[in-house]
Subunit: 396 residues, 2 copies
């Protein structure tokens, strides 16, 4: 895929020797002018140093540069770790000639090991020299940890006769390594927006994408998604509630959903991408809870791997999710093949047809509770031998 | 282990051809006189027919006979399934010459397949003829499904000069098959008790045992634990709040904890039994939530399998559990080897010593949050290749 340039944004990557040498492990995103910004951060109560430094800066509403390293999460590193995050950000700000408060920092990698400040700072001159509009792919590659492929997605929207780009970069392999495979996401757009537009837009887009995927239900100390809008496209700033705001929101939702699906597909050992559609719940919130219960059940996920249309495990996962359920009303489908009607099997023949659906690399499981209008979706993968192998052997 | 007889209780097992023929799959427990009773039932909102029939009867406080079948859960079987549970219980009551309301029924096995009434009823004459005080082991064997060994435990207590037996029988392989491996538990004692003693005693004992174990966090539609006390030992009935009540409570807690540990050890593919000790939480409830988060994390459990002292995964699981945490106060130990002090690593040397602890088949992980007095424990197993293999291949 050719990645379009986004006006006013430049990118670069460098080898800071934080990982084994020979691979880029530092990356930089810079906007020519301060961009409006918004962020979504991990809900884990153990929060890595770069998030502690960056959260209040993003909340202040403006950002011009993002410094990212892979190979070390700078998490559980105490006061020394905070100093590394603060000092590297100040070093970058000085090199770029901008205010320190306009720099965000992000890290991903091993937990509990000191991040060497001199290596991170040592990479900054190379990063600044290498900045170019075409280098987004190099950033996507440098921030990979356990990812088996780099992840980018883009959309173009028309706003008041101006063409605006929306480019997103992410890393993550299904959050299956909280000490190595943090989810990071960065959305850059040259659209001009009113400042208050971005936070609700990003929060909703993340809920429908990164917060609707699971490989194993673990949540890292370092998860972070940022959006930067620098207005370089020259459109009249997009107002909240306008048609253009809807256009931008849809574009951001689409690029983040693209990336979220890539992350599920890249879940180590995963062989299947499964969409859990939960409808007929009493509310959207209850639908999400029930969908998540199905999507995170080890038994359901091993049945997907075994290509077994084992609806008993799905109905049990809905039942113990805690949401309101009437077992005698539940319908379950694999793609369009109904295997459960009003809580009872539709018979061995239908189940045999459903087994064919499970042989596909991508399919949908629909659970209809027939209680109300609440609905939600969740993306998940199967649980495989390789998942256990990779995660058991990881540090040895 | 020789199982002592419990005065006034008889047991039997029979082959009802509900599973493949040639193995006992029906069992009966009978007290000579109506026993005081209490029960704890699944919290899954999808509840199997035998539980719907038995719950109100146990709640009424008296039980004289328990009819159990394996091979079929009689769950998600609709009105027809309820009729099978009611009819088989009436048939047994008639054969024993007791009131229908004194019979409890329990089932375990495949979900969603009709349970053949004629086979269950066909086994009842054999079950009644075979009743004997020495047959408890036959019951423990007949109720097995994916269990690789039968599970019984017993204690003797002295009450007012009388010797009272407490015998417990369970089946379950870590709840790793909700459509096959329901957890069932039955406690029989000949101690005389006041009726109101049993329910709070059982609820607490189950919380500290069966509700403190996990293999994969799934909860079945059929889980049930009953206690029956028939008073045949002839002691003065044990009053609530008395020293004898404490003695009985401790005996019930011990037999159920024995069985719970056997269930974790029998988790398919499990090679390790790990006790998660969570202390220093703001409350016992928060301690339990955090302990459960660690015990159910796929990443933590695969690290146990890989014998990797990966405390980053443990600290992350505590962090996302939702309870109050100050990362800078957390201590973590593998047995007595400290690997984390105030949120920071104690160094590579300590971690190497901890790795030796992880090579043992049984060890303890202690997480001290240093916030309050709340504490809880949880028993878990490792997540292995064999777990995936057994669960993926199960119905094929």
């Amino acid at each position: 895929m050719t990645i379009p340039t986004v006006q006013g944004f430049k990118f670069s990557a460098a080898d800071g020797a934080i990982k084994a040498p020979g691979r880029n492990d530092c990356a930089l995103i810079v906007s020519e002018t301060p961009a409006h910004c918004a962020g979504v951060f991990t809900r884990n109560k153990v929060i890595a140093a770069p998030l502690i430094v960056s959260k209040p800066r993003i909340a202040a509403g403006q950002c011009q540069a993002v410094l990212i390293n892979s190979g070390n999460a700078n998490a559980c590193t105490g006061e020394a770790g905070l100093e590394v995050a603060r000092n590297s950000s100040a070093t970058l700000a000085a090199a770029l000639g901008i205010d320190d408060s306009l720099v965000a920092v992000a890290s991903t990698g091993v937990i509990g090991v000191p991040l060497p400040l001199e290596r991170l700072n040592g990479a900054i001159p190379t990063l600044c020299q290498g900045l170019a509009a075409e280098n987004a792919t190099a950033v996507a590659e440098a921030i990979m940890t356990t990812d088996s492929f780099s992840k980018t997605s883009c959309r173009t929207i028309e706003v008041g006769g101006k063409s605006c780009q929306v480019l997103a970069i992410a890393k993550g392999a299904g959050m299956i390594h909280p000490n190595m495979a943090t989810m990071l996401g960065f959305v850059m757009t040259d659209a001009a927006v009113v400042p208050e537009l971005l936070q609700p837009l990003l929060t909703k887009a993340v809920d429908d994408s990164f917060n609707s995927i699971t490989v194993d239900g673990d949540t890292s100390t370092n998860d972070m998604v940022l959006v930067l809008a620098n207005g370089a496209a020259g459109n009249t700033p997009i107002e909240s509630g306008s048609r253009d705001a809807d256009l931008l929101a849809r574009a951001v939702e689409e690029v983040l959903l693209d990336l979220a699906k890539m992350i599920v597909r890249d879940g180590e050992g995963a062989t299947k991408l499964v969409q859990i559609e939960l409808c007929g719940a009493n509310s959207d919130v209850e639908a999400k809870i029930a969908a998540r219960s199905v999507a995170t059940s080890s038994l359901v996920k091993t049945a997907f791997f075994g290509e077994d249309a084992n609806w008993g495990r799905i109905i049990a996962a809905v039942g113990y999710s805690g949401v309101d359920v009437d077992p005698n009303k539940i319908d379950i489908f694999f793609d369009d093949v109904q295997v459960v009607s009003q809580g009872l099997t539709t018979g061995a023949q239908q189940e045999a047809v459903a087994t064919e659906v499970l042989k596909k690399p991508e399919f949908r499981v629909t659970v209809d509770l027939h209680l109300g209008q609440g609905r939600a979706h969740y993306y998940t993968s199967d649980l495989t031998y390789d998942y256990v192998k990779i995660n058991a052997d990881y540090r040895t």
